[in-house]
């Protein structure tokens, strides 16, 4: 599992005492192998010991690259470096023993099956004697406000609580530098609040220098001393009291218009086999062409399950989901329930975008990815290619036409996944958290794209926690 690394370096124990770290970057530049442009250029930055700094900027501005450089995990063979970067006067790689990290995905950071064991993991690695470990574990759990005790199985925790635990695991090692890499990007609003509260509580004593990387600056402002923003021109120090521009500001969307009802859910509910409580209680909904419906509600209320029923991907265990004659026209066998349609029939009628775009990618090139749906639904080869080129152009992805979808940034993947669905011109669009974790630019593009589809007469359903999205786009809200 561990990465290869020259021995004798980076082996400093995490238990070595020493105050918070000092970061100095002078003319720092990073260029990834096989890319012509510098991902990061001419960065000058000094972070004093104990400071808490927010590093923000749009997707692709180089935030992740700078973070990787600070963490000392840039592979020298895959990235060329210019200028200078030091943590406590040495290369970040050599200061790794004094680093604590919290990344995005809660599930790929925990190692052990119980909460206390997981916090102890980093202390065992540092070679701390067993009798010193447990007091430190308890101290770290208390510092982040983890309330379940050491024996709690880590699998039973929510995303926010898992992140809180990972933070405790990092703090237990008493790091000089704590790096937080968009730690709330995969959490719902309640989970994000949990994590920010834990960070605020645990870093108040300023025993560590804290660098938070997040494109969504607003929620972190009360927690940090300084904000630096990565812009195309370089790193900009924002003045005290700075606030990010609202992503909804100046956004003008095409309005919708009342169209016919295309799809209805009639007391549709769903219970997984072998479980007692339903994942979705019987729910009614009518999807009208030219209108956008937002499905909201706390985690576990069945929002995503409702999306699967409406999308014709699961059959309701109670009630019915039925298409109007207009939508079902031409389906072989005349079936009205979307679950009974063949996949090729489904894609021209109901388009679905999942929360994780990469789960839906099937080919090795963007161009093929966009042509796939039209080809599968029986469109001729030439027409499918033409549709693909047109969509690439419209989404500003032409430069990546031959790239592998997996190599795109998160924002680009999101746009691509929406585009693949639009390629077959469905009348109903079902989207699960389409704006989740997106920066302001991608957010506006996705919302604009959805409004365009609504104006074309599509019924748009979004499952979302995003209040901004509900506010600017939704014509109706279904709160579960």
């Amino acid at each position: 599992m561990g990465r290869d690394r020259p021995s004798g370096e980076g082996g400093a124990s995490g238990t070595v005492a020493g105050g918070p770290s000092r970061i100095v970057a002078r003319g720092l530049g990073v260029r990834h192998a096989s890319r012509r442009a510098w991902a990061l250029a001419d960065v000058d930055l000094t972070v004093e010991p104990g400071e808490r700094v927010l590093l923000t900027g749009a997707s692709g501005a180089g935030k992740s690259t700078l973070l990787a450089a600070l963490a000392g995990i840039l592979d020298p063979e895959a990235a060329e470096q210019a200028g200078q970067l030091t943590v406590d006067g040495v290369a970040p790689h050599a200061a790794r023993g004094r680093l604590g990290m919290l990344a995005q995905d809660p599930d790929s950071q925990l190692v052990m099956t119980r909460a206390g064991d997981d916090v102890a993991f980093g202390l065992e690695n540092a070679g701390l004697p067993a009798d010193e470990i447990w007091p430190r574990v308890d101290e770290a759990l208390a510092a982040v406000g983890f309330g379940y005790g050491r024996e709690r199985p880590t699998q039973a925790l929510s995303g926010g609580e898992k992140q809180r635990l990972v933070l405790a695991g990092a703090l237990a090692r008493r790091p000089g530098l704590l790096l937080l890499d968009e730690p709330t990007a995969q959490l719902d609003p309640a989970g994000a609040d949990v994590v920010r509260a834990a960070v605020a509580r645990a870093t108040a004593d300023r025993r560590a220098t804290v660098v938070v990387v997040d494109h969504d600056a607003g929620p972190w402002l009360p927690l940090v001393d300084r904000v630096v923003e990565l812009l195309p021109g370089g790193l900009v120090e924002q003045p005290p009291g700075w606030r990010p521009a609202r992503r909804t500001a100046g956004l003008e969307l095409l309005p919708g218009a009342d169209g016919p009802v295309l799809l209805t859910a009639d007391a549709a509910g769903f219970t997984y086999p072998g479980t007692a409580t339903p994942a979705l209680r019987p729910t009614g909904a009518a999807l009208q062409g030219g209108r956008a419906l937002a499905v909201t509600g706390p985690n576990g209320s069945g929002k995503s399950t409702l999306a699967l029923l409406l999308a014709g991907l699961r059959s309701p265990t109670t009630g019915r989901v039925e298409a109007a004659g207009e939508l079902a026209a031409g389906v072989r066998g005349g079936h009205r329930a979307p679950i009974r349609w063949r996949a090729g029939e489904l894609v021209t009628r109901i388009g679905t975008v999942f929360q994780h775009p990469e789960q839906q990618f099937l080919t090795g090139r963007l161009r093929d990815e966009l042509a796939l749906g039209p080809l599968r639904s029986g469109t001729g080869d030439a027409a499918a290619r033409a549709t693909a080129e047109e969509l690439l152009e419209r989404l500003g992805l032409t430069a990546f036409a031959d790239a592998n979808p997996y190599t795109l940034s998160g924002g680009q993947q999101r746009r691509l996944s929406v585009a693949t669905v639009l390629a077959t011109s469905p009348r109903v669009l079902v989207l699960d958290e389409p704006t989740f974790g997106q920066d302001a630019a991608t957010w506006r593009e996705v919302v604009t794209l959805l409004a365009e589809q609504r104006a074309r007469g599509c019924a748009v359903v979004t499952v979302t926690h995003d209040r901004d999205l509900v506010e600017v786009l939704a014509d109706a809200e279904l709160a579960l």
């Binding site: 599992m1 561990g2 990465r3 021995s7 980076g10 082996g11 124990s13 995490g14 995990i73 790794r96 023993g97 680093l99 604590g100 990290m101 995905d105 599930d107 790929s108 950071q109 925990l110 190692v111 052990m112 099956t113 119980r114 064991d117 102890a120 993991f121 202390l123 065992e124 690695n125 070679g127 701390l128 067993a130 199985p153 699998q155 990092a170 090692r173 997984y272 479980t275 699967l308 999308a311 014709g312 991907l313 699961r314 063949r342 996949a343 090729g344 489904l346 894609v347 388009g351 679905t352 990469e358 789960q359 839906q360 990618f361 099937l362 796939l372 749906g373 599968r376 669905v421 077959t424």
Partner: protein, 251 residues
């Protein structure tokens, strides 16, 4: 829908150290692999069944859920041998089926009673297994349940793209291969994120790792191994005395 790793709460059998359980499994394996009669596996299996409650496996439905592939496999081994072998009778077939179950059930007992973390602790402390291997494997194991959930999502995602096998078995296999590939890509990416996270917490950094939980061997662990040996000895003795004993001699 959640796959659980290890017992939710400790069961009586959890008090036996995992390396003692593994030693016992070794003894049972050697004895059953070398005996081809019906009496030996029947007695060993009877003893194993007595341990089911100690492993918390009292719910018959839960037991069926954990063991049906094993039972099915054992039954087919028995039937196939009776049908295909010229000199096999139903008793030999039943003996072979019991042997398969008797070999596999200790593994079921171990998984049901042992937290994988305690297993890794015991292996590294008592048997000198490398910590890099043991805890690396442990971390990877945690990702397995995620794979199960993701399988379903990826399968549904194919349908949203117009890709579906329908009734064509060849298309079905190809689709499954595609789903498998998507899952593999996801697993590799998640695995490398996990490796980075473990690295950031000083895993495998060259410092000798300590163990916060420890792993103690008690007299009861010795008794457990001795009792296993005794059960096997009784089984073989009864088998010899009743005239059923028919060992496999290697070489």
């Amino acid at each position: 829908m959640v796959m659980v790793l290890g017992p939710v709460a400790d069961v009586p059998l959890s008090r036996i150290n995992p390396v003692a359980q593994l030693t016992a499994i070794g003894i049972v394996t050697v004895v059953l692999l070398t005996s081809l009669d019906i009496v030996t596996p029947a007695i060993v299996l009877a003893a194993e069944l007595c341990l089911l409650p100690a492993a918390g496996l009292t719910d018959l439905r839960d037991l069926w859920r954990r063991t049906w592939p094993l039972l099915l496999g054992a039954a087919s081994v028995g039937v196939v041998n009776v049908l295909l072998a010229s000199d096999a009778d139903p008793v030999t077939g039943a003996g072979l089926a019991l042997r398969v179950i008797g070999l596999a059930l200790p593994g079921v007992l171990l998984v049901a009673s042992t937290d994988p973390v305690r297993l890794a602790d015991a292996l590294t402390i008592h048997w000198g297994v490398s910590t890099r291997f043991a805890y690396g494997a442990l971390a990877a194991l945690r990702l397995a349940p995620l794979l199960v959930a993701e399988f379903e999502a990826v399968r549904l995602a194919r349908r949203t793209r117009g890709v579906e096998a329908g009734r064509n078995p060849v298309a079905r296999v190809r689709l499954l291969a595609g789903v498998g590939f998507t899952l593999l890509v996801g697993a590799v990416r998640r695995g490398s994120r996990l490796a980075t996270a473990m690295d950031a917490r000083g895993f495998d950094s060259g410092i000798t790792r300590t163990n916060a939980r420890g792993s103690l061997l008690h007299p009861r662990d010795t008794w457990f191994v001795l009792a296993t040996g005794a059960v096997c000895a009784v089984a073989v003795t009864v088998s010899v005395l009743t005239g059923y004993w028919s060992p496999v001699f290697i070489g």
